[in-house]
């Protein structure tokens, strides 16, 4: 929750709602780009962003992304984040 996790923007899913599909080491989820971009979003596809609870907060370069991912893996935080993403997606699909 407090540490951001790097992901790579795979596609813009809904430009009007500022939503992209972001790849986190194989886990895909929707991420809001409101805080990192004004105007057109297409140029952001392929770039790395630091994501806090589903919101991109900074555009970072690939070396920084890898370094951050290694540090998060060492702390056991990366796996925790991916698990939280998967569980949240599964929860949404549950029938009420």
């Amino acid at each position: 929750m407090c540490l951001g996790i790097p992901g790579r923007i795979a596609a813009i899913r809904d430009a009007e709602r500022r939503i992209a599909s972001v790849d986190f080491s194989g886990v895909r989820r929707d991420v809001d780009l409101t805080c990192v971009a004004e105007g057109a979003l297409d140029d952001l596809v392929g770039t790395w962003v630091l994501v806090h609870v589903g919101f991109a907060m900074s555009v970072i370069d690939e070396a920084e992304a890898q370094r951050t991912l290694e540090a998060l893996a060492e702390l056991g935080e990366a796996e925790e984040e991916y698990a939280a993403m998967r569980e949240s997606a599964a929860m949404l699909e549950e029938r009420p």
Partner: protein
């Protein structure tokens, strides 16, 4: 703990440790009265213990683990309020997983869920909003928790809900700010901190300007740092250099991610949706002026405090800490976790009694996991 050879760049790590050793004396540290450097962020606390930095630095320097773990400082009465809201008919209560085990005065959200409340763990407030869309006949409440890193996320989500007219969605706002408790700690006559390592990702949002009072009013250095061990060591070198040269400035070791002015889009969203409360209660620290925020009147329809009549302070007695729990003294750096009589016995990560044992970012949990139990500590 790790050996220096396991660091990403062992040669650089060794060099940084050598510089720390040579600077700690000129900076004023002695074995009898070690320099006290507070790392504010719980992520830093976790990294310090994971890598054993507290044991690798010279004895003339000690880390004081600051209040930067939002679930650790959440008052028990607010957990009680969450459970009260979650128990209402028709409510789906959504929370980050981190908050599930935080003890309230009677129970945690985990226990309330086991007793039948509809409580769901979500990764993002966006998922709570989506849940509201998919369940138009239910009232979805999101537990807004965290420092300036998660505030923009709930702010943008509230604005999206307002734009959509998604009135079955609201946020129970418990967001808190990093700078006010630092002012409170520095104003406490018992404190004798020498310098600070500032949080990386919070600073990515707020920039470095909000820390200026620490240097200008209190004459203490602060260096914003990344949370890799080499970042932390570099930041400690920078703090020691300032102390050795008699300077007190706000410096930025993590400029590759933290711009001096933060993230203006995120700050604009925070400003639009929230306003400061006159004060907010921190577990272990008590009420701190203007340290928390509430949702502005403009967004009252999305404010769970208004919707469910659970205002802050609403005439309730503040939750009392468990007898003998010394979380407050640990947060202030007055004692180390093993000095608390509950540590490792009645208070363990599986059954946290005090707040600092709840999250891996809490000082006690980190100490318990990496620092050895009390018996080993005493030996």
């Amino acid at each position: 703990m790790k050996y220096i050879d396991e660091f990403r760049d062992p040669a650089l790590a060794k060099n940084l440790f050598r510089r720390i050793e040579s600077l700690v004396g000129p900076a004023g540290g002695t074995k009898e009265k070690p320099l006290q450097i507070m790392e504010i962020c719980g992520g830093h606390t976790h990294a310090i213990f994971r890598y054993g930095l507290d044991k690798l630095v010279p004895a003339e320097l000690e880390f004081v683990h600051g209040p930067g773990c939002p679930v650790c400082v959440l008052p028990m009465s607010r957990v009680d309020d969450c459970i009260e809201i979650a128990a209402r008919d028709n409510v789906i209560f959504c929370t980050f997983g981190d908050a599930m085990r935080v003890p309230g005065t009677r129970k945690s959200l985990m226990q309330a869920k086991a007793e039948g409340c509809d409580i769901r763990m979500v990764y993002s407030p966006l998922d709570a909003l989506e849940l509201a869309r998919r369940n138009p006949d239910r009232d979805v409440v999101f537990f807004g928790l965290g420092f300036e890193t998660t505030m923009p996320a709930t702010a943008v989500t509230i604005r999206k809900a307002a734009a959509d007219g998604q009135t079955n969605f609201s946020v129970f706002c418990n967001h808190i700010l990093v700078p006010p408790p630092l002012r409170a700690l520095l104003s406490d006559p018992q404190m004798r901190l020498d310098g600070f390592v500032g949080p990386g990702h919070v600073s990515m949002i707020i920039g470095t300007e909000p820390y200026r009072f620490i240097a200008e009013e209190f004459g203490k250095p602060l260096v914003v740092a990344g949370f890799e061990p080499l970042d932390l060591l570099q930041a400690i070198v920078m703090v020691l250099q300032q102390l050795a040269e008699g300077r007190a400035e706000i410096e930025n070791q993590y400029a590759r991610v933290v711009p001096a002015n933060g993230n203006p889009h995120a700050m604009a969203a925070i400003e639009a949706v929230y306003e400061p409360r006159s004060s907010f209660d921190w577990r272990g620290l008590g009420e701190i002026d203007r340290s928390g925020v509430k949702i502005r009147g403009e967004y009252a329809a999305y404010d769970a405090e208004v919707k469910f009549g659970v205002g802050y302070g609403a005439g309730k007695a503040a939750g009392r800490e468990p007898e003998g729990c010394r979380c407050g003294d640990v947060v202030k750096g007055l004692i180390k976790p093993p000095a608390c009589p509950k540590f490792g016995g009645e208070c363990v990560p599986e059954r946290p009694l005090g707040a600092l044992m709840v999250s891996s970012e809490g000082a006690c949990a980190a100490y318990y996991q990496y620092g050895g139990t009390r018996r080993e500590e005493a030996a």
